[in-house]
């Protein structure tokens, strides 16, 4: 074999305030499936975007078949046979399959007119190649997600892609769809296409990859070949640092009931009723794969999305105010004093002591062009008003208290939020709730896109809030975070609560088994929680005891 199909040497990339990639090498042979794994923020997506011409590297070079290339654009990369398929597919959902395949390269009748018949004829062989049995005239939006993915792969192939990069292609696919995708990927590799496959799911990587490249904090953490690719070999490379820092915190003694959910069904998963209880002062992790319904659950609790049925109960007035100091024995005694609440708007939830940190801070959390102080005081304007007017002094006080309290690094309190680093932005989204003294804090992916140092700070803040009696429920896709921060882990699988693991029995294996639905199906040691607990004990996760 001569030169590798695609080679990257010493790739580096900086974004304002962050080093996304530093000196990363990558090699891909024709017909090979290379998996790239790493935690969120490890730099996987950035690297892939560079390979596909979406971003220009600050350092390093790319070689295609041994020849140095420089991609000026995605179009340029595609013309040379490198195609990237994003996690969120780039398909025109209102057009049919054939039109999508030919998008930008439409066969024409004369100079001006499209030729739908020829489009469909041209599309057919590519659809067969990826094993998609849909008619080329089907509207893409009518296809299930897994098949849309195949359309996108077919499109890349029809553009003569010899390197196919897939960014978490399985994240929103069902198990059967994923199996089918694997079949296609293997077949493509057999035909000589080089495939780079990014995934968070290590079991998939084990099954599929010839070789695995592990990234950590923007650097190459290691590489595993063929038989070495096992779960146990991958995890230490990915995490690679002392997990025990998460365990510095004191386990919390749960107090009175702070939130009780009975038979709640959400819009997304109306078939599954959820039941659980949150207690004051405890941190509950919500684990599960993408699409398991964690976000929808949090949004339903906060009134952003209306639940279909079920009850949400909070402590009756008076009991709630003292919940923070709930004594051990008092917890159960007061559990009776609950009242039903029905939030049709987040304002209701806020008025009842709930706070929410959404998953996408830029889209749903921040007023990006506004000052840090304006963002921080947004929630307290109504409480602190003087007549109809804003109490500017109180607003300044709220903002500077939050800035000092959370150590938000700003040049001035009115620094525009858009210019802050991800970690500081996240602190702002969290910080705007502090002055309201919420009793229940809901967080969705609280450390997404945040660097390691800021993560630790955010964990410290969450821990401190719990210590002060706040009930915390957080959804996270980062196993390390779920294991490290939670007093208790709730695992969701396809809209249902698959199980609950107390801190001492929560292990990565146990959570994954429940999250993938394997906990009950494969019967590794009984059903649901019991099985996972047994697993955890047997695996003897080193971190748990440290």
């Amino acid at each position: 074999m001569g030169a590798p199909r695609l080679q990257a040497r010493g790739i580096g990339k900086r974004f304002p305030g962050v080093v996304a990639l530093a000196d990363v090498d990558l090699e891909l042979a024709a017909g090979e499936v290379l998996a790239v794994v790493g935690e969120n923020g490890a730099g996987k997506s950035t690297l892939m975007r560079i390979l596909a011409g979406e971003l220009r590297p600050d350092a390093g070079e790319l070689l295609l078949d041994g020849e140095v290339v420089e991609f000026a654009s995605v179009r340029d990369a595609l013309a040379r046979g490198v195609a990237l398929i994003h996690q969120e597919l780039d398909l025109a959902e209102n057009l049919d399959v054939a039109a999508n395949l030919c998008l930008g390269r439409e066969p024409r009748r004369g100079r001006w007119f499209t030729d739908p018949a020829r489009e469909r004829r041209q599309a057919r062989p590519w659809l067969e190649r990826v094993g998609l049995d849909a008619d080329p005239s089907t509207i893409v939006g009518d296809l299930p997600l897994g098949r849309r993915q195949l359309v996108e792969i077919a499109r890349a192939l029809s553009a003569d892609a010899r390197v196919l990069i897939m960014d978490e292609p399985s994240s929103s696919l069902s198990l059967t769809e994923t199996e089918r995708l694997f079949g296609v990927v293997r077949e493509l590799a057999r035909q000589g296409v080089g495939v780079i496959y990014i995934s968070h799911r290590l079991s998939e990587v084990e099954q599929l990859a010839d070789r695995v490249l592990v990234l950590r904090d923007g650097r190459r953490a290691g590489e595993l070949h063929g038989g070495e690719v096992t779960h146990d070999a991958l995890v230490p490379l990915m995490v690679g640092r002392d997990v025990s820092r998460f365990h510095q915190r004191t386990p919390h003694e749960p107090g009175a009931v702070a939130l009780q959910v009975e038979g709640l069904t959400t819009r997304e998963h109306p078939g599954h009723a959820l039941d659980f209880t949150l207690r004051a002062g405890e941190i509950v992790g919500l684990a599960g794969l993408v699409g398991a319904g964690r976000t929808e659950l949090l949004r339903s609790l906060f009134g952003l999305s209306l639940p279909v049925s079920g009850r949400v109960r909070l402590p009756a007035a008076g009991a709630g105010a003292r919940a923070g100091h709930g004594a051990r024995a008092g917890g159960r005694a007061r559990a009776g004093a609950l009242r039903d609440v029905d939030f049709s708007h987040p304002a209701d939830a806020v008025a009842n002591g709930l706070a929410f940190v959404p998953e996408d801070r830029k889209a749903d959390g921040l007023l990006l062009p506004c000052g840090t102080d304006d963002n921080l005081s947004l929630t307290t304007l109504a409480r602190d008003r003087r007549g109809l007017c804003v109490d500017a002094t109180a607003a300044r006080r709220v903002a500077s208290a939050a800035i000092a309290d959370l150590d938000i690094r700003v040049t001035a309190p009115d620094q525009v939020v858009e210019l802050l680093s991800g970690g500081n932005q996240q602190k702002v989204v969290l910080g705007k709730w502090l002055a309201l003294r919420p009793r229940v804090l809901l967080l969705d992916e609280p450390t997404r896109g945040v660097d390691v140092g800021a993560k630790a700070e955010l964990y410290g803040i969450i821990d401190r809030l719990a210590g002060a009696g706040v009930a915390v429920l957080f959804a996270s896709s980062e196993m390390e975070e779920v294991l490290g921060l939670s007093d208790r882990v709730l695992v969701m699988h396809e809209g249902a609560l698959a199980g609950e693991l107390p801190r001492e029995h929560a292990t990565e294996q146990g959570i994954l088994a429940l999250a993938t639905g394997a906990g009950a199906a494969t019967g590794t040691g009984g059903t649901g929680t019991a099985g996972a607990t047994g697993n955890g004990g047997a695996a003897g996760n080193g971190g748990a005891g440290a």
Binding site: L304, D364, G365, L367, P369, D374, L378, C389
Partner: protein, 326 residues
């Protein structure tokens, strides 16, 4: 602030050029007229600004002016309603119609453009139906009431010049609007909604009510504008009364620094923007070299240059800020 200075500079420039090109420009009569027009359109522009700050649009302003402008003389003269009933009735009506726009936009999630486009068609059509397409007017009566639109307040020591009453109305409206937008909680929420509705909602702000309020306010100010216009002119033709006024209002708001993407706006800027539009119209009439029929082209060109310059300045500033941050 930068935008307000920019628009003030533009206003002064246009005034200077016009003053040099025409000796009539600085005559007391012309200035008085200009102030009156600016006041009337400024009121409409302020209404438009509230809606634009939310990231929305109101295309029905001109038709609302027509509706109120025709209803007032029609109710007073043809139907014989007392003044004390007509004024509250038309103002409440326009407020409610604006609120209806807001309700359709926030509750039924219809697009502002569509809702208010339908308003544009509906109100003009209804007005023409009600009045039978006949010109309605005060027929020389109601002098006391018409003082609100036509009146002049003599200023001591200013010979031949008097302050038009609508200017006083504008000042009152502008001060109230400025306080509302910049000092009240509701105004802060309005700006937050304009910047990021989703984030505002997730911060516990009842964004639907905030937006609905903005449309109601815009409707109400359109109604007030329509009232003053017809009191000034004395009669209204349903076919074209208030025609295109929504565009003058939106143009004034945009020139005054309101981004159509929402979030930012300054009332002073909007008033200056309205003044620029009126000086331009005035200049086209006064300056011999410009034929009157190109009015729209001149206004369109100035507006385009204004917003393009603003966007360029914004980019340069943003790039410099980013360079400093990196």
């Amino acid at each position: 602030m930068r935008k307000v200075l920019g628009i003030a500079g533009l206003l002064i420039t246009v005034c200077l050029i016009t003053a040099l090109a025409s000796e009539h420009f600085l005559s007391p009569f012309n200035i008085e007229n200009l102030l009156r027009r600016t006041a009337l359109f400024g009121i409409l522009g302020i209404g438009a600004a509230f809606v634009i700050v939310t990231g929305g649009i109101d295309l029905s302003i001109g038709s609302m002016v027509c509706l109120v402008g025709c209803l007032v003389p029609w109710l007073l003269v043809q139907q014989g309603w007392p003044v004390g009933a007509v004024l509250p009735a038309v103002l409440v009506l326009s407020l409610l119609l604006g609120a209806a726009h807001g309700w359709l936009i926030t509750r039924l999630r219809l697009q502002p453009f569509l809702v208010t486009l339908c308003g544009l068609l509906l109100y003009r059509g209804l007005t023409r139906g009600i009045t039978g397409d006949q010109t309605v007017g005060f027929r020389g009566g109601f002098a006391g009431l018409r003082w609100l639109g036509q009146g002049r307040i003599e200023l001591p020591g200013m010979d031949g010049f008097a302050l038009p009453v609508p200017v006083v109305v504008l000042v009152v409206v502008a001060v109230l609007a400025g306080v509302l937008l910049d000092r009240t909680v509701w105004g802060r929420w309005l700006q937050a909604v304009g910047h990021n509705e989703s984030a505002a909602r997730a911060s516990g702000i009842r964004t639907e009510r905030v937006v609905l309020g903005a449309y109601a306010l815009c409707g109400g100010l359109s109604g007030l504008g329509g009232l003053l216009f017809v009191l000034d002119v004395g009669s209204a033709q349903p076919v074209d009364f208030g025609n295109f006024y929504e565009l003058y209002a939106i143009a004034a708001a945009v020139l005054g620094g309101c981004s159509l993407r929402g979030g930012t706006g300054s009332i002073l800027g909007v008033v200056l923007g309205a003044a620029v539009m009126q000086v331009l119209r005035n200049a086209i009439v006064l300056v011999e070299a410009i034929p009157d029929n190109v009015e729209y082209a001149v206004i369109g060109a100035v507006l385009l240059i204004g917003v393009a310059a603003d966007e360029l300045v914004r980019r340069v500033v943003a790039a410099r800020r980013r360079a400093k941050a990196a």
